[in-house]
Structures are given as C-alpha cells and as structure tokens.
Symmetry: C2
Subunit: 666 residues, 2 copies
C-alpha cells in the first residue's frame, strides 16, 4: 500500500517536468524489454491453491450468501448475538423501541388513506379471483398484521393484488367452477395460498431468492401489460352487465363472450359503470400529473363505492338489472386450516397454482419493497422478505385469506401519504377490522359494476408503454421477450406466457454464449493498450501477429464455432498478407481476459487450434487467462502443451517479448 501512496504523492512534482519526454518514454519502455526478458515479463500466476472442498464451500457461499448475512454477528458477545438474531427475524424489534408520536401521526394518516383504498380493492380483487368478496377483506386484515412484525420494508402496503388474483382465478377456474362447486373452489384457493406461502418461505429460507431474478424486467413488462388487458376485457362482464360469461382467460373466448351475449347488455349498468369509470380514470390522471394530490386517487374508489351504493339504494325499485354484491357476513376471519386440501385429484392443481401465484406475488412484493427502500436509502434483504411474505401467506391460508403481497399502487400511496413504518399497515388492519365488524351491511347494495370500474382503473397502470419503448430502443431481444410474454398471456395462458418469456430470456443468454464475438485487436500507438481495430482508428495491426480477443466463456456450446471462426480469421489474415506482400503471420495471440470460464470441450478446442496452427507454422499464445481458466489449463496439462512462450500476462508483454526474441535470434 505504501508503494502506491508514494507513487500518487509524487504525481504533481514530476508530472509537468516529465511531459516533453513522454513520447520517447513509451518507445523506450517498450523497447527495453529484450535486454531483461526475464525481469520485465510478468509471469501468469496460478490462483491460490484450494482443495475441492474449499472451492465447493466458496462457490456455495457465493451462490447462497452473496450478501454475507452473518457479517453483523462478527465480534459480538453471545447476548448481543441473540438480540441481533431476534432483530433479524423480527425487524419490529429494530424500530419499535425508537418509535414515537411523530412518526405515529404520519402512519395514522397513511394507514387510513390506504385502508380507504384497500377495502374497495380487496372486494374487487376477490371477485377477480372468483372468490367471495368478503375473502378480499379478510385478506386485508390478517396478512398486514403479520407483515408488520416480520417485514423489513417501511412502505410496503400489504394485501390482495390484481396479478396474483387474476392468475389464481384463471388457473383454478380451468378445472373447477366457482359457481357450481364454490366450497371446493374456496378450499383449493386456500390450499394454493398455503403452497404459495410454503414456496415463498422456502425460497427465502434456502436462500434461493435468485429464482425470481429469472423473471426479467422485460418479461414482467410484457406479462403485466397482457394481464392488464385480459383483466380489463374480463371486466366488460361487469361493465356491460352480462350474466353468462366465459370462465376462460384468453382474448378470443372473452371477446366472443362479450359479443355473443349482446342481448344481455344492460344500459343502466353501462351508464352507471361508464360514469364512475370516467370519474376514477380522471382522479387517477390528476394524481399522476400532481403527485401531491395522491389522496384524490386514493379516496376515489371508496367515494365511488359509497355514491354508487347510495344511487342503487335509492333506485332499488327501478334498476333491477343492476347486479349488486348482496349479503356479506359480519365478523372476523373464520379459521380455515380445516379447509386445506391435500388429496387427489386437485392437489397438483393447487400446488401448480400456488407455485405460480407465489412466484408472481413474490416478484411484485420484493420489487415494490426494493423500489421504496432505494428511494429512502435503506436496505431490504430479499431472502428475509421472502420468508416474511411466505409466513404471512401460510398464516393467511389458515385464516380465510388468499394470496397477498405488497401492492404497488397502495404502497405508492402509502409512501406519498408519509408512512414512516409498518405501523401504517397495522392502522389499515384496524380500519378493515372495524369494517368487518360493523360496516358490512353497508355494502349490500354496492353494484358489481363499480368493482369492475375499480379493477380497470387499478390495472390500467400496469400497461407501461414507455418501458416497452425503452426496451425496443436499447435491446431488441429484450423487447422480443416482452412481446412473447404479452401475447403468450393474452392468447394462450398465464403459465404458458410466462414460460415462453423465460424461455426467450434464457435463449438470449445461450445465443450470446453460442455465438460469441471475436475481435481483432491492434496497438494504440505509443501505449501498451490493445484495442479493437474496428472501433479504434488509432489501433494498428502489429505485423506478423494476429491478435484476437474472445468475448465469452468457451463452452461445449461454442467451442466448435470458435474453432471455425478463429481459423477463418487466420485464413483471412493470410489472404490479406498475400495480397499486400506483408510479413508472414507467425503468431496468433488469443486475449483470454473475457474468457471467464472454460470447460473440457473448450480446453480441447484450444489444443486443437494449437495443433492446426502448428501445421501452418503459426504459434499460439494465450494472454491473461482468469483464475478458473488458468487452473483448468494447468489440470488438463494444456499449459505444458502450450510451451514456455505460449502464455503471457498482457498482449503488450507478449508482443514486445516475442518480437525482441526475433531480433536477437536473427
């Protein structure tokens, strides 16, 4: 360390003096190598020796503990360690002791604000999942309480969300009818929620959180837009007052349902729904334009519910066509652990539904949590959040709740309303509790059409044109993944759409690996820098050398291609040399800096290239292999095969050392 500080301290003194000599300096430096080839050329060193077990341990700790979660326990007494561990599992212990009246005032306001949104949305999303509306309210009561104890986000507003509701509804309805067999359907919904929770908690517990990373942003943009379109179209049922509607979730059956039942269209419903949809969309628009007026869009759904209920109540003798929610039972969540369903024939369906809704809701919850944590500069631990969300769903499934997670829209309003901690979730729960205990009769005359309008307003924000356009601009293949998931969801089904989109994303990675770039490097005059001659006009080829950078790991999937491609570069270079009467090609230097891994096929390719070049009297030199590649070259004895002058630390050293040897040998 001293040496370097020293160097940097010297900078200003010599800097100005030395300047005139600069050009000479570099020339001199590159030419003094031959005199002391063994002093000036740096050897490529092997990585520190490790046993297989040590390597496995290191690899596993990188895979599962990249954030080194135990670092806070280092050098602590065991009492302190215990306390830290409790704090780790119950983040409420971190903030509760410091909690005061100031933050509470903010949390009270924001809690009431999100409750006024959560109640109508809860009822609506439960309808979206083909569940009784009351289940949506139950799900806005228990899970937020549990999250406020276990969760580490201060702004996440927990409850049912549109995507997970839609997916659960569409997947269960394909096998079981919610109208013909409502008890079985409810059982399956709770069971799926239970599995979703198990799955989420185990992802967190087993530290496999990276699984959700495979849903790339591109995939999610397309998926959410597709889901929003399909959900909005589904709401035409409510908006038009159609009684007989398909239970399917694809574009074509939904549209044909809409237009094959034109006789059922009800103008009263359409007028009422249309008016409130316009009202809700306007308030949403105002809040987007002026974020300070967030409370307008936050209060609008409850206002719409109250006003429309009053209208329907007043017109109850005349407007028979308008479908209403009807009777809702008063009281708290009944226990539902006896309704979990672990036997054939629907167990597989419940597991599958749980898996997909679990992953999707986890993705939403984690992303929302991270977004607001980044805005307020605190950390949200992904794996711990997964455990919190998972446990909350497992508890929910035993108390008549279906899948819940952090909702983007409600969290944004929570944040804007000034929430300071998870107490806002507790306030919301209490408001829902009051509703459940005393206010249920109020919803008797609430028209279904208003729920449809609320759903449309909520999901319309999921269609993100701008993000899709950015994808198109920056990365065409990401845009393709986005389109596939959009159309997959719209025309085929939710799981298939997701699988296609993940497939496209993985295919993209494989394509990059299968057909990696190879770049011809040249020397930037007067420096040690070797750069692509295609990109840098200053970079010039060095006679008798062909220098190639390989920009990918060398795997079975690309080794044949790379061999062909490298030999083609050599062939083209030789043709060019013949045409221009240049010095014959003597050395092929492969810059391995970007070859971040190699497998046995790759090693064979290197040997093969060496052999084939040998027949044409061209020598092969590798420069700067990374640690793992170096180790495999050594183990496979390829280093011995390459010979002493077959490996250098940098392209610059290779070129100057080799050319100096020529001069001395001539």
């Amino acid at each position: 360390m001293g040496v370097n500080s020293n160097r940097i301290d010297n900078l200003p003194d010599n800097g100005t003096e030395a300047n005139p000599q600069h050009q000479t300096t570099i020339t001199m430096e590159s030419i003094d190598l031959p005199a002391h080839p063994h002093h000036e050329v740096h050897r490529v060193s092997m990585p520190p020796r490790q046993t297989t077990l040590q390597k496995l341990k290191q690899r596993l700790s990188e895979v599962f503990f990249p954030d080194d979660p135990l670092h806070r326990f280092k050098n602590q007494t065991w009492v302190r360690k215990l306390f830290l561990a409790l704090q780790y599992f119950f983040p409420i212990l971190q903030w509760a002791p410091k909690y005061g009246i100031g933050p509470f005032r903010s949390d009270l306001v924001s809690g009431i604000t999100i409750a006024s949104l959560a109640i109508p949305q809860g009822i609506s999303y439960a309808k979206l999942a083909n569940l009784p509306p009351i289940v949506g309210l139950y799900s806005s009561f228990v899970p937020p309480l549990i999250y406020s104890v276990l969760g580490s986000s201060r702004h996440l507003a927990v409850g049912p969300v549109s995507i997970a509701s839609l997916v659960m509804g569409s997947m269960l309805t394909e096998s079981v009818s919610s109208t013909k067999d409502p008890i079985l359907y409810l059982k399956l919904a709770f069971t799926a929620t239970f599995f979703a929770g198990i799955f989420q908690a185990s992802l967190g517990f087993l530290r496999l959180g990276f699984v959700i990373d495979f849903l790339s942003k591109a995939t999610l943009v397309g998926f959410m837009a597709g889901a929003a379109v399909i959900v909005s179209l589904q709401q035409l049922k409510g908006l038009l007052g159609i009684a007989h509607f398909t239970t399917k979730m694809q574009f074509i059956p939904v549209m044909s349902s809409v237009f094959s039942h034109t006789d059922e269209w009800s103008w009263q419903t359409m007028v009422l729904g249309g008016a409130f949809l316009v009202f809700l969309l306007t308030t949403r628009h105002i809040s987007i334009r002026r974020p300070k007026l967030f409370w307008i869009s936050a209060a609008a759904p409850l206002t719409s519910v109250l006003i429309s209920t009053a209208i329907v109540y007043l017109l109850r003798s005349k407007a028979h066509e308008i479908q209403i929610i009807g009777h809702l039972p008063k009281g708290l969540n009944p226990p539902s652990s006896n309704m979990l369903y672990f036997s054939a024939p629907y167990l597989v369906l419940a597991i599958k539904t749980g898996l997909i809704t679990g992953v999707l809701s986890l993705t939403e919850g984690i992303a929302v949590g991270r977004t607001f944590a980044a805005l307020k500069n605190y950390q949200v631990d992904g794996n711990k959040e997964m455990m919190a969300i998972g446990l909350m769903n497992m508890a929910g499934s035993c108390s008549s709740c279906y899948v819940t997670t952090g909702s983007f829209s409600r969290s944004a309003i929570n944040y804007n309303a000034g929430a300071q901690s998870a107490v806002s979730n507790i306030v919301m729960s209490i408001a829902v509790l009051v509703t459940l205990l005393f206010l249920m009769p109020l919803f008797y005359y609430t028209p279904n059409v208003i729920l449809a309008a609320i759903i449309i307003t909520a999901v319309i924000g999921l269609i993100d044109y701008q993000a899709a356009y950015d994808l198109w601009k920056v990365d065409k293949l990401d845009f393709l993944a986005c389109l596939s998931s959009f159309f997959g969801v719209l025309f085929i089904s939710v799981p298939v759409g997701l699988i296609i989109a993940v497939g496209v994303s993985v295919f993209k990675i494989l394509l990059h690996v299968t057909r990696p770039n190879t770049v011809v490097l040249g020397n930037i005059q007067g420096t040690h820098i070797y750069q692509s001659i295609n990109r840098y006009k200053e970079a010039l080829k060095v006679p008798s050398f062909l220098i190639l950078a390989i920009e990918a790991p060398i795997y079975f999937a690309n080794s044949t291609y790379l061999q062909e491609r490298i030999l083609r570069w050599v062939r083209e270079e030789e043709e060019w040399i013949r045409e221009n009467n240049e010095n014959t090609l003597k050395y092929l230097i492969l810059d391995m800096t970007a070859v971040t891994a190699i497998d046995t096929s790759g090693i064979e390719t290197i040997r093969e290239i060496k052999k084939l070049l040998g027949k044409r009297s061209i020598k092969l030199v590798l420069t700067n292999p990374v640690a793992s590649v170096m180790e495999k070259l050594h183990r496979s004895k390829t280093l011995d095969y390459l010979g002493l002058d077959g490996l250098y630390l940098t392209v610059g050293e290779a070129v100057s050392d080799i050319s100096s040897q020529w001069k001395y040998s001539v």
Copy 2:
C-alpha cells in the same frame, strides 16, 4: 501498418541503452498525464454506426455463416462459380478427376477390410434395432454409395451403428412389438429413418448445425457408456439363449428378465457364445495394443461368423437349443417408399424417433469425420456433411435401409487400412452387393449368439473410463453432466437421459451467468497492469480507489446479485479503511472488459449502483466497455448519467487521470 513496423524495427537499437532508466520511465509516464489530460487520456469510442438492419444482417451471418462458405466464390467468373458450386454439392467432382491407380489399390484393400466387418456388424445391429437381419445388409449397400458422391470425408465408413440402432429399437419397441406386428414395426423404422434424414438435411441446409454442439463431450461420454452397458446387458438374451426377454431398455427390467428366466438358460449357447466372446475381445485387445495389427480385430467378426456357422451346421442334429438366424432372402434392396407411414396414431412416435436417432447419428458421423480430417489435415464442412448424411438417410428410407451414419470403429479400421478416398465405401458396397446376391444362404446356420458377442465387442469400446476420469479431474460439473446422462440412460430411458444431460450442461452455463466472479484488482508496481490482488502478490491496492473486474455479461439473471455483491465489496472496503485509518474511499472503478454483453436490467443495475454510491459520496467509473455494451450505455443515456469522468479506456488511465485531478484541485 508502417508505424508499427517502424516501432518493431527500432526495438534492438534502443533496447539496451534505455534499460537503466526503466523504473523511472514508468513513474514518469504515469505522472506526466495531468499536464495534458486531454491529450494523454484515450476516449472510449463508440462502435461504428450501423442500422438495426445491418446489425441484424451481421448477427445472422455470424449465427449461420461463421465459416463464410461463399468466400471461395469471390472474384470468379460465372462458369468457374458454377463449377465450384457443383464441386461444393458433389465433392466427388473434386477428387475423382485426380484419382489414380495408386490410391485405388489402397482403397480396394481398405474397402474389403471394412466390408468383412460391415457384414457381420450390419446383421448384428439390425438385430439390436429389432429389425430383420437383412435390413442391416441393405443399409450397408445403398447409403455408402450415396455418401461417396456427396460426402466430404475421405475416411468415413458409412453404415448402421450401434447407438442409433439401440435408440431406434428401444423407442419403437415401447409402442409397437416387432414380433407381434413386424410389418408395422418395419414401416415405422423406415419412416423414422426418413424423418431422421429430413431433419439432418435441414439442419445442414438451414445451417443450424450448432444444435448438435449442445451434446457436449461430457454428455456423450456418459451417454455412450450408459448405452454400451445397457446394450451389453441386453445381449445376455442371446448369450444365455433366453427366449422370453423384456422389450424394455432399462437396467432393472433387463436384469430381472435375465434372472427370472434361469430355466431358459442354455449351456450350449453359453459355451459357444463365451468362447467366441473371449476370442473377439482378445483380438480387440491385440489391435488396441498394436495399431498396426488392426486387421486382426477387423477380420475377427467375419471369421467368428464363419467358424460358428460351420460348428452349428456340423452339430445341427445335436444342438437344437442354439438359436440360428434362419432363412434370409437373396437379392438387392427392395424399394420401400410405399412403406413410409404418414398417418396417426404412430406418426408422432416416428418423428420423435427420427429426431433423436437423427441427432445422435449426426453427432457421431460429424465427430468421426472431423477426427480423421484433423489427423490428415483436411477440412470437413459440418453443414455440408449434415446435408450428405441427411440425403443418404432419406434415400435409404426408400430402399429398405434404416438409419446409417459414419461408424467410429469401422472408420478407424478404414483409416488404418490406408483408405485414400470415398472409393473404399464403394468397394465395401460392392462386397455387400455380392453377399446379398450370392452368399445369403451361407448365413442360415449362423447362431444368434455370435451376433450378441459381436455387438458386445463393438460397444465395449464406447465405455471411456479415461475420458470420464479426465472430466472429473478438470471440471466437476462436466463430470456431473456425464454421470447424469450415464444413469439417465441406464435407469430411465434414452431420451430422458439425453434431456437430463443437456439440462445439466445448460444449467452450468446459467449458473456461471447467475453467479459471476467479481475480482478486486490492484496495480502491479511499475506497470500499467492491473490484476487480481488475490492472485498476484505484486498487485497492490491503490488508496482511495476500489477497482473491481466483473467477469460475466450483466443480465437480468445476475443483475440483482451483482448489485448486492458490489455493494458488499464497497462495504467491506470501507470497514477495512476504518480499521486501518486509510484514505477514505472516493472512487469505485468497474473494469468492464469481461462484461461481454448487457441487457436492460443490467443497465438499470449500473444506474442504481451509481445512485447508491452517490449517496455515500463515492463516484462510479467504468473502464473499457466492449462495443455492444458501449452502444447500449449510449442508447439508454447512461453515458450522460455517468458524466464526463465516468468512463475511461483502461483502469490505468482512469487512476492516473483522476488522481492527477485531485492534486491540481487541492
């Protein structure tokens, strides 16, 4: 070019003089930068501008035409072009005009040698595929003739091979019994062969040859060993003389078949089979030890057939237990295009079987062709070979042949016997023709047990312990892929075994992408080189800087991980600085040399890291982004976001330029 030749010409003159100044030189060079920051610091340039269409074109030509197959047509007259095109499609036109009596003598000897092997192997492999033995001989007649016209390998010996025969037999037998419904079975075999041919030819024609690269060597080593074990065990049927045997191809049913029919074991068969198996294995062993004695193992199978047939003929009144081949029809291949079967319910089975046998036989044929081409230093064009093999199978399916390809064992003998061109295949075909026309009655008394012994001797060579051990030594995950395909084939089924092995190989690629290495770099004193401080003791940290090399493309699949990991490096560095009272951390330099690609999630991660570091007053600098990354940084306006001093060409320039600015600003 002149500049560089100049530099290199100067090397010896100044080299010796300049040496004493060397240490100073470098210090001076690194310190004179501040005086002319804008002259000495190289700008990172954008790749040459291209439209989306141009980029797509370039990308597609890299994907499909990496070998630039049209380069030989450049600057030629159109007559010459036509002739070259004909030569391209019919390689026989390349070598036939120059063919003479010398090569013919060699080809005659080698052709007869491989015919003596091809005839017993053809009969045996047809039995392996549960086909009539005569089909094996038909398949050794037509396809070699076609290959000799279309193929570009000089040493490939074409005919039925063990792996493809096994796979076809096991896949078809699962649905159709070859004994109960032999005509349907035969139809399906020809249809599968037709689809295999179609599939192979289209892979070549569409230049999708890289598909077979996904069968890595590791996968194939395991697969072939598993197949060899299962085939050998199956031969216990013949060797023990068991009449009632399972048609399944898994370890457990085969072994239980062997031991549940001990009453059917025939001592006569066992003695005969055992004796010849020992004889064949001994000759094989001799030929392996002394490659010059290759003819011993080449002649052994036919010798065994002749001797065993004679023995059985002589003992025909006493040895009733020994099963014999029986009547074989004389005459040439009958046409079979009328037997192709394109309707339900077995069409899917035929396509699936064709696909898998097609891929496997293609892999074998191409690998064998490339091996011998490399030995004799000529080129085999993969895509063209695929078309040749595909057309040969399509033609074969219309002339009573089943799937054929280049056989490894026979090609090796062909090569050792001195084959010079595809004429040895023609000679072999003629020998088979003579057999078909006149010698069929000779095989009436040939015992089945001898075919079992021939098959075992042939497949035993597919078990490559040494290769498996090398995999274990060099790459544990490759070894895992090898094991999975071995046990997958042995205990589940051929297609599942292959799918598992390909899955493991792809998983390996994804794992590398999901959890990439990040390496802390330090400066090697007295140079511009920055290398891993973990690997190079000479590499020292530069105070106030943290320099990280990211060793992978940044994708959705690793962007969250990388963000966490990089922030952890920063945290650990800051802790280390606090403990050691060092200069505070001011700059994080990310060396992007090995970041060979980035997607939209990756770009967002870079911006996020910049933002989070900004809150801690640490600046982010990127060095040396590759062309495609640079372009995406530009398009997404991330370059503007990084600012003027956020991008350098090399780590060295970044460090010296930034530290010089400090000195001047202080």
